[in-house]
């Protein structure tokens, strides 16, 4: 348990308003958006500068407290959950955009800046920061970097990793590491930056991020296609890509998702359709025109039931916003929404849908599927009730079977949400024991004492770090 002196020291270094140790404060920093996981930290700090981060880490080190970094807690694999108690280090008060450099096309900001705030600030200067996870209104840049978040525009513009140019971070031993910079090329030594991206807060605390910006597309066109059969939607995606068209967005929602989203947004989505694809093409106006025509042709070939073109930017914006609510809207139906992040080579999409359908029937579950179809990244979501142990077992069996297939097809167990607590077993299945061993060696090089976000990505053979599906505090004092 954390000592009183340590709390006093934290208050002295960070200010009383930036230290929380009341149970009511701690209790609400023990979860993220992953269902069924809830732990209780011993103290929480909200540093407002890199010095504050350093001071908090020093005190935690002295006290032997695990340190768990937290952005906005929208993670979907339990990454910011203090599974071994300790100190939650909240970065959401480090939220200044420090510079938008129009000569080098970069932006530099603190780790707690909200993704959409950065997008808006750069857009105001005529520039474009593409990564746009569904959670962009809430998630922090630090969280995005640590999970290598994707988004609706991933198909054409890539994911967070593709935009990170430099990172400033504090390592567990208190040393500062700056990696990368504004130069577009950099091969000096090991690529620390690339190692840090997607490391889920297990290697260092990111304090500052420099990202690449690009000029925004001149024109876009948003197309909505409805299907009587979800497999036809999968086919459409594969065919569009095979036709060498790269839309910026190609998102899918199945019937269950369409209905939940419509219940919330009420914009007239057709409830009886089996699936919809939200497709956006952008770029030079002539190119957009041509691509849109080709997409339209393919949609007709695969017998889309209806094709609708958004009449203006406002309607397009509404459709994208509706899609972003998919996961939360599915939660209307049941208390627990267990979602996965399977990603397959895009040519296998239709098969994946068929497999999801088959397993849904086999395990008698209600499943809503949506996702970044253009990336082959699907989120089949089981709508269940965590109080029903038997149903939860069926849900887990569903994912077990599904991942067997996904891995056999050369896919991955996580396209964008990370491993965290929730998917450790699946990771071992994907990369094997040898792979996990190497990862542990890397972790050890950065964090020999295992202070930083312990229990994530792989287990250190301690039973308390096994995946926590049961509700109830796992660790406390």
């Amino acid at each position: 348990m954390i000592s009183k002196t340590a709390i006093e020291q934290l208050i002295e270094k960070l200010g009383a308003e930036n230290v929380a140790s009341e149970k009511e404060d701690l209790l609400v920093l023990g979860y993220d958006s992953t269902p069924g996981i809830h732990c209780l930290p011993e103290v929480a700090v909200y540093p407002t500068s890199r010095e504050g981060v350093l001071a908090a880490m020093e005190i935690a080190g002295r006290e032997g407290l695990p340190i768990v970094p937290r952005g906005s807690g929208t993670g979907l694999s339990g990454g910011s959950v203090p599974v071994k108690g300790g100190m939650v280090l909240c970065l959401n008060r480090m939220n200044r955009i420090l510079e938008i450099d129009e000569e080098n096309l970069t932006a530099t900001c603190e780790a707690g800046v909200i993704t959409l705030d950065l997008f808006n600030a750069t857009a105001a200067r005529g520039l474009f920061y593409p990564p746009d996870p569904g959670s962009q209104k809430i998630s922090t840049l630090g969280g995005n970097v640590m999970e290598d978040a994707g988004g609706l525009r991933g198909l054409k513009y890539g994911v967070t990793r593709d935009y990170v140019m430099a990172l400033q971070c504090v390592l567990p031993d208190g040393s500062l590491l700056t990696t990368g910079g504004k130069s577009v090329k950099d091969v000096a030594g090991y690529a620390f930056k690339d190692l840090l991206v997607g490391s889920e807060g297990t290697l260092g605390i990111i304090t500052e991020i420099t990202v690449k910006l690009i000029p925004p597309p001149q024109a876009k066109r948003t197309i909505l296609a409805y299907f009587d059969d979800i497999r036809a939607a999968g086919e459409a995606v594969s065919k569009i890509i095979a036709a060498k068209i790269i839309p910026s967005t190609m998102e899918i929602m199945d019937k269950a998702t369409i209905n939940c989203v419509e219940d919330y947004v009420k914009i007239g989505l057709p409830r009886q359709m089996a699936a919809l694809l939200l497709i956006e093409v952008d770029g030079h106006p002539a190119m957009v025109e041509e691509d849109a025509q080709k997409v339209d042709l393919i949609l007709r070939q695969v017998k889309a039931a209806q094709i609708h073109i958004a009449k203006d930017a406002e309607e397009a914006g509404k459709l994208a916003a509706a899609r972003r609510t998919a996961l939360s809207a599915l939660a209307r139906v049941s208390p627990t929404t267990l979602l996965e992040d399977a990603t397959v080579p895009r040519s296998m999409l239709a098969e994946t849908f068929a497999e999801i359908e088959r397993l849904t029937a086999k395990y008698k579950l209600t499943v809503g599927t949506f996702g970044h179809a253009g990336d082959g990244n699907l989120h089949p979501t089981v709508l269940c009730d965590e109080r029903n142990a038997e149903e939860m077992q069926r849900a887990h069996a569903f994912y077990d079977d599904l991942y067997d297939k996904v891995l056999a097809w050369g896919g991955t167990v996580s396209g964008e949400h990370g491993i965290g607590l929730a998917k450790k077993e699946y990771l071992a299945r994907q990369i094997g024991a040898g792979g996990v061993k190497v990862m542990k060696r890397i972790k050890n090089a950065f964090d020999p004492k295992g202070m930083l976000n312990p229990g994530k990505i792989f287990s250190d053979d301690d039973p308390s770090t096994q995946s926590q599906v049961e509700e109830g505090f796992c660790v406390s004092h």
Binding site: A20, E22, K23, E24, D25, L27, V28, L29, Y31, D32, S33, P35, Y46, S72, G73, T74, N92, R93, I114, S135, K137, I138, V261, D263, Y264, T325, L327, S328, A329, A331, R332, P335, T336, T337, E471, G472, F473
Partner: protein
């Protein structure tokens, strides 16, 4: 959400949140950027997601109903912005409203505070005549009115700087409207129907001229307007202070009164009353026959909602050559999902130019007695609002709720902004011959 049958965790049996309602939150955080208290503090426990998690922890016996939970219940503005934002259908504001009732059961006030509170909620507000009498000295001597508040400040748990603010906020008080308004005001021109006008307490006491306009506008629009003299407080202050029992008694009374009045619609010009009236069905669930509740609910309309629905008669309206910006009351846009209708009305007034402000649906910081309890926080919320108002350079700031009007008018005076604050019915009244 009214009464649970089984006791839930560390809640008491009477008026506890339902477990289903707190489980519904999947913790996505979509509500975070819309919550004024989270914007003020950056503290998870003062966010909708955090508040629901606290309630859930109490339900799951991971936490007692502590003083801090009570604080969060009252620090919540009950602005319901989180309800609008939540794709999962969670109603964090309402969960907190119910927790306020738990507060009084579980964290009792001292004896003196409690009896004052009881006096105001259970004697004063339910009795329109008593209320008018006690406001009488306030009208004669506005300072005396302040003294009245001073005497009762403990009971209302007001914040340190509330007095100066309350004094500044009070509009020039005129004679209450209730005894003056005819029980029936007849329709002008071709008659379109008969409506019951629900005259709220704050409207009759503080804004008699506004509701006078409302009745005049409704009559001009072709409706016989029935204003039952016996109307009692809608119960909103009781819900907000956590006295659900008195709220139920008032609701039952008003329900009978308006059902007997045999009207086609029940219309109010107070967003707070409208939201409360629409919740009677839930509040009185099990207390009276369902058909009566449903029939009452089917008739209730906010005045903007009503006029847009039946269609505004624009023939004969006089032009108002003014630029107008519109502030959405939380209890209209978030609690009743009425957002488009007031704008439609404003735009139908000849001559008016509507200028949208940024964040029109962000709370103004009034929120019942919240603005007096947390005067510093309230000022910060108000500043954010007034900055957005100022940027529009509109001549008139229109709203549709007396609480907002008090707060905005006060803020505008304090800051010396060149903008006139009006209720939407005053604007429409200006255009009505």
């Amino acid at each position: 959400m009214s009464r649970t049958k089984e006791k839930l965790g560390n809640f008491t049996q009477l008026d506890a949140p339902k477990y289903e309602d707190v489980l519904q939150c999947m913790r996505c955080g979509f509500c975070l950027p819309t919550c004024p208290t989270f914007a003020l503090t950056g503290r998870e426990r003062s966010s909708p997601r955090g508040r629901v998690a606290l309630a859930r922890a109490v339900a799951e016996q991971k936490l007692e109903f502590t003083d801090a939970v009570k604080q969060e219940a009252f620090f919540c503005l009950d602005c319901r912005a989180c309800t609008t934002a939540c794709p999962s259908g969670v109603r964090a504001g309402e969960v907190m409203e119910i927790c306020r009732s738990q507060s009084h059961q579980q964290v009792p006030l001292g004896h003196v505070g409690n009896s004052f509170r009881k006096f105001i909620l259970q004697r004063m507000l339910p009795d329109p005549e008593l209320m008018e009498r006690s406001m009488l000295p306030a009208r004669l001597y506005q300072r005396l009115g302040i003294q009245w508040l001073v005497r009762h400040s403990k009971a209302l748990k007001l914040g340190p700087a509330w007095m100066e603010k309350a004094e500044g906020m009070l509009p020039e008080l005129k004679a209450p409207l209730r005894p003056q308004l005819p029980v029936i005001t007849e329709a002008v021109g071709e008659k379109r129907g008969r409506i019951g006008f629900f005259l709220g307490c704050v409207m009759t006491l503080m804004y008699p001229d506004v509701s006078r306009q409302t009745v005049r506008v409704l009559a001009y629009q072709g409706f016989d307007v029935v204003t039952p003299r016996a109307t009692k407080c809608c119960g909103a202050p009781h819900l907000s202070e956590g006295d659900r029992q008195t709220a139920r008694e008032l609701a039952l009374f008003n329900l009978d009164l308006f059902l007997q009045a045999d009207v086609d619609y029940i219309v109010t010009d107070c967003a707070g009353c409208g939201a409360a009236l629409k919740e009677y069905e839930e509040l009185l669930d099990g207390e009276t026959e369902h058909e009566r509740l449903a029939s009452f609910r089917a008739k209730v309309r906010d005045v903007s909602e009503f006029l847009t629905e039946v269609g505004l008669r624009t023939g004969g309206l006089k032009p108002v050559q003014k630029s107008v910006t519109y502030h959405e009351p939380c209890h209209l846009c978030h609690a009743q999902s009425i957002s488009r209708q007031p704008r439609d009305l404003i735009q139908q007034i000849p001559g008016v130019e509507l200028r949208e402000m940024e964040e029109a649906s962000w709370c103004c910081g009034s929120a019942a007695t919240w603005g007096l309890k947390f005067s510093e926080e309230s000022r910060q919320v108000l500043d954010r609002k007034l900055d957005n108002v100022r940027k529009t350079e509109a001549e008139i700031l229109v709203t549709a709720n007396p609480g907002c009007q008090l707060q905005l008018a006060w803020g505008v005076r304090e800051r010396d902004l060149p903008v006139q604050v009006l209720h939407i019915m005053e604007l429409l009244g200006e255009a009505t011959p």
